[in-house]
């Protein structure tokens, strides 16, 4: 019998995921400001709440109250639709993120493929924003994002495929199970894949040293220059959700997922994921931005050949 209890349970699960995304993004924005501040020998936000902990809450209220400005020359519906294209795929990716053995919205048997597919849609949103704004900086930012994401998607997917080959499954839970004895990052065949993954993932989420799509000093803010208020907030939300997603995938594929001693599984999962995010922030605030040609050269002349080679070698090692 279909009971309303089940319906309520399903709706609650959805609300929980959305709530987690929003709170996590708010925490990450505060955390990023704090980490960057301490790397640069300053305090960062200090006024609102304990060490500025409520600063993000104040910022969200400010963004909600801001006027939504639409440029007159913008391509109206493309411009309007772009933030949704940027956020919805990253929210959909949460379907297969395993927070613990039971806490996974749905363990699809094509889990890894689903994540690869759904996150590859995000770039369309960046394109639409860049084109719809009808502004040369936005257009340049959109084009740079396109070139970059196409280039780094290849090594990213190839490094994920090596994990699938060793774990012998596309399901996220089975990949976690395959790491009961040894995390894949310490697995001799997969250490290189882990390194390739973290480099390519940094580029995929447009973070320094690969943040040329929104290089402030050259492009104002790149593809989201013309957005204000809640629409800008949605791009921001999408960006931090993507950071969380790539780190959660790194945790699941390389760091043993939710497995760990003593603490409950969800605590381990969150510790590992936020640890990777902090690592990405550390990288962001210590390295300078690459030039466009360096970025593309690195992807096509070094990272892609190396990941193909890695794939072939892991395949050969699995055959024996």
């Amino acid at each position: 019998m279909f009971t309303f209890l089940n319906l309520i349970f399903m709706v609650m699960a959805g609300v929980m995921v959305l709530g987690f995304i929003a709170v996590s993004a708010m925490f990450l924005i505060w955390w990023e400001r704090k980490v960057s501040a301490h790397i640069q020998n300053r305090y960062g936000p200090m006024r609102v709440g304990w060490h500025g902990a409520l600063q993000s809450v104040a910022d969200v209220i400010k963004l909600l109250l801001k006027e939504d400005i639409r440029p007159t020359k913008a391509d109206a519906w493309v411009w309007w639709l772009a933030p949704f294209f940027a956020v919805v795929p990253s929210v959909m990716a949460f379907v297969v993120i395993p927070f613990s053995k039971e806490l996974i919205p749905r363990d699809l048997n094509i889990g890894v493929l689903y994540i690869m597919a759904i996150t590859s849609v995000c770039v369309i949103g960046i394109f639409m924003a860049g084109w719809g704004s009808n502004n040369k900086y936005s257009l340049l930012g959109g084009m740079r994002a396109a070139a970059q994401i196409i280039s780094y998607e290849l090594p990213l997917i190839l490094s994920m495929i090596t994990v699938v080959m060793v774990a012998n499954s596309l399901s996220m839970q089975k990949i976690v199970e395959a790491q009961s004895r040894c995390w894949f990052i310490f697995h001799p065949n997969l250490a290189l894949a882990g390194l390739i993954y973290i480099i390519a993932a940094t580029a995929e989420v447009n973070r320094t040293p690969f943040d040329i799509p929104e290089a402030e000093s050259e492009l104002v803010a790149g593809f989201h220059t013309e957005y204000s208020g809640m629409k800008f907030a949605m791009f921001f939300l999408g960006e931090y959700t993507n950071v969380f997603i790539v780190s959660a995938i790194a945790t699941t594929l390389f760091l043993g997922g939710w497995k760990g001693p003593l603490l409950p599984p969800i605590a381990w999962f969150l510790i590992k994921t936020y640890g990777i995010i902090t690592f990405l922030m550390w990288v962001r605030w210590t390295f300078p931005r690459l030039r466009v040609d360096q970025l593309m050269g690195f992807a096509w002349k070094f990272l892609t050949p190396v990941s193909f080679l890695n794939l072939a070698i892991v395949g050969l090692l699995l055959l024996k």
């Binding site: 048997n109 394109f127 396109a146």
Partner: protein, 181 residues
């Protein structure tokens, strides 16, 4: 994925047929509508966005056929890779912002005729089979089976396709290469 959802719903008293009827016609209709908008839009960028939505609709139709792997690959390859390159090419086109005037000329009439002819051929092919509905196997086709059949039964077509892609790649480089004087 859809299979599991239907199972879940039918366990809770909602018959499968109802769910499929309620959602399939909506999705199929939207897919056809977006496909129509792809050819009728005056702005080439709008066409590209509609094409993204059409391809997404096709991926949804694959889910109704229990071909989850195909749906995933459809989104990854067609939306994630091919459409990204399409849009990239549009952005590099200098006069992409000019909107085409909507008028009925010989070209439109000819392409409509060609499209109708192809549709008639498809209709003929569809009519060739009686299309007996079959019950789905309880377990969806596993990845191992797909991989094995790609490497054995469909080994030759698979290799021919990769050769074709390689030839296209080399061709694109030759065309795109700037002559050095």
């Amino acid at each position: 994925m859809l299979h599991g959802l239907l199972q879940f719903l039918s366990n809770h008293g909602i018959p499968q047929g109802l769910v499929i009827q309620a959602t399939f016609y909506g999705i199929a209709g939207l897919t056809v509508l977006f496909a129509f908008l792809v050819v009728m839009s005056r702005d080439i960028f709008h066409s590209a966005v509609f094409l993204v939505l059409t391809l997404f609709g096709v991926a949804c139709v694959y889910l109704y056929l229990d071909a989850e792997f195909l749906a995933g690959v459809q989104i990854l390859i067609y939306i994630g890779a091919i459409m990204t390159l399409f849009i990239f090419a549009i952005m590099l086109t200098s006069d992409a912002k000019t909107r085409l005037a909507r008028k009925i000329d010989l070209r439109i009439a000819l392409s409509a005729g060609a499209a109708l002819a192809i549709f008639a051929i498809f209709l003929k092919i569809i009519r060739l089979d009686a299309w007996q509905p079959q019950t789905l196997s309880p377990t969806p086709l596993g990845l191992t089976q797909i991989g094995k059949s790609l490497m054995t039964d469909f080994g030759l077509p698979f290799e021919v396709i990769s050769l074709l892609s390689l030839a296209a790649l080399v061709g694109a480089i030759v065309i795109g290469k700037v002559e050095k004087k």
